[in-house]
Symmetry: C2
Subunit: 383 residues, 2 copies
Amino acid sequence: MKPTKTLQNMQPSYIREILKAANSKDVISFAGGLPSADSFPLSLMKDSLNKMPANAQLFQYASTEGHPPLLEHCQEHYQLTPEHQSLICNGSQQALDLIARAFINPGDKILVEAPSYLGALQVFSLAQAEIVSIAALTDGENISELARLLSENDIKIFYAVPDFHNPTGACWPLDTRRQVAQLCRDNNVTFIEDAPYRPLRFSGKQLPLVASFCPEQALVLRSFSKIIAPGMRIGLVSAKSAWIQALIKVKQAADLHTNTPMQALLLDILQHPDFASHTTELIQRYRERYQYMAKLINQELSNYAHFDQVEGGMFIWLKLENCDVLKLAEHALCQGVAVVPSSVFYNQATSQPSALRLNFSHSPKDKIALGVERLALSLKRFC
Amino acid sequence: MKPTKTLQNMQPSYIREILKAANSKDVISFAGGLPSADSFPLSLMKDSLNKMPANAQLFQYASTEGHPPLLEHCQEHYQLTPEHQSLICNGSQQALDLIARAFINPGDKILVEAPSYLGALQVFSLAQAEIVSIAALTDGENISELARLLSENDIKIFYAVPDFHNPTGACWPLDTRRQVAQLCRDNNVTFIEDAPYRPLRFSGKQLPLVASFCPEQALVLRSFSKIIAPGMRIGLVSAKSAWIQALIKVKQAADLHTNTPMQALLLDILQHPDFASHTTELIQRYRERYQYMAKLINQELSNYAHFDQVEGGMFIWLKLENCDVLKLAEHALCQGVAVVPSSVFYNQATSQPSALRLNFSHSPKDKIALGVERLALSLKRFC
């Protein structure tokens, strides 16, 4: 028995492969999108886990939508209107997959920013979408190109990460958010707002969701992986009820429902009196790590590379002179530092700028210093 | 934005709908495939949950395959050869969905027993398979029909539940297992052996897996939902490595990996010194409930219905004279007892025998008595 043609054409994730190599203790990993394990709110979990066996119903089959008290909390916390509904998923990755399975017919056109989140590209490929790319909208210059693309093509969905983009770390300014929403409304295009990094802002001012300007056109994906812990695999998708009902039908067949004990644990953490200070400390830690890495890059790598400042998230997008970034990343791995080359974030092989994605959230400062030092050796050789 | 054509054609699960209605406190539910919440091994979970916050790595991103110590345990416990590998899923429902997504091209022919597990029919429909049905193989009479079907049609996969079938509770005899395996080998057909009820044998002798007679042709799905707790959503699929690698590629896009804390908890339960006695008590309880329900049916319903004895699992398949089973089930719900009509377990509308699926694992004896009494009222009216 052979895999489907679609699957045969799909490459395994380069990032997952590099993460395996990066697991070696001698390697400093700037590769994964990993939060700092030191920052998981473990002390906020204790009471919840201890009392869990007293509630047998948490271990029974449950409704596909999700754990009702968690759904209620989210409805209130995210100020969703009664016309909007949410579905709890195994991480927001599953939400994205369910959207693709529920709404994308083979050949449907999906617009993404290039570079883009690799997991989204995989999902859209599996759904046999036709992927259309546009350069990053961050500085607002490409809005006219977006207008042209949307009016001239039969684009069904625009997928984007407006807050602290993966891989670039960029954040859309307010004007861009308004303009994108307006263009989606004008062209009847659905906007998927993937917002896993949104709570990780460490400077600048929080901006409204793009979806807030086009609530009838948007699906919002939220993750608890970055602010709490990814191993729990809990994410949330919110949209108008008719769309969520379609996702529920697919999820029912996909896995019946998301595990309930982790949903109950998540809710207890979100409602814990110390959750706010956990968040503050986490963001403070990421700010410090970012600033430290940024300083070292400026000191040690500025002859070879530059980057745009970021205001949150987990990544620095290190721009290089034109070079073979795959070979550079392999060389760096041999030096003992794992990074992700820009090429994996593009759907098409053409005109990809040379860059590396560096994660600053996972490693403590001493490892950041050592990693940048090792990276400098590779850059000297390749750039 | 409209759902895909495939999804528009898919009906929501009647069982999930009836389960919602059955949630009312006044209704006695024989409808769900629910284990007894009184039998969850909650006392075996305490130490594991208490020590969980001490292990931050359980909450970090993890490998798609599953938690390595759990995989090792399963490899040994199920005596898998080195050529075979496993993947941890969100319940065996997800394993089934991943198989369909990895291997079924639209139009591929999938053979199922009729009646069959509804969740499997949904998954195969979503994958746009052509579903071919065969009558139950339990008594061995239909083996020649199977031979004909497999030789005359281009069947890619045969999906079956040989141990305590859902919905009929039937168990394939040894000869049937050997013959089915041989036919799959002869015709190069993949056999999906869905075995969630296999550990729930309360009389008779354990029989070998069909897969044990055709290990290179088979995928085996195992569930921990029936013997431990379904809310944890942990299942396992095992097969030759090349097939598991294909499933891993799909799972990576579908949800990255199954949540790790529940995998660690599951392993601790499986390795707990009291797990064997938990299993013995659970099976003893189900035997008692089955025998009690069987006795009451024989006493109160024998004028209208009959059933074949079962040796395990969760279900009695109550066969009736020809009647409108959907209306009967609705009437029974009004009387305060939820049952599942046979029609929902058939892919085609034609020649469906009238029957009801009754679950005996979920309700304690007093509720079983009251439920059968209520059901008698409906049967008197309809049969």
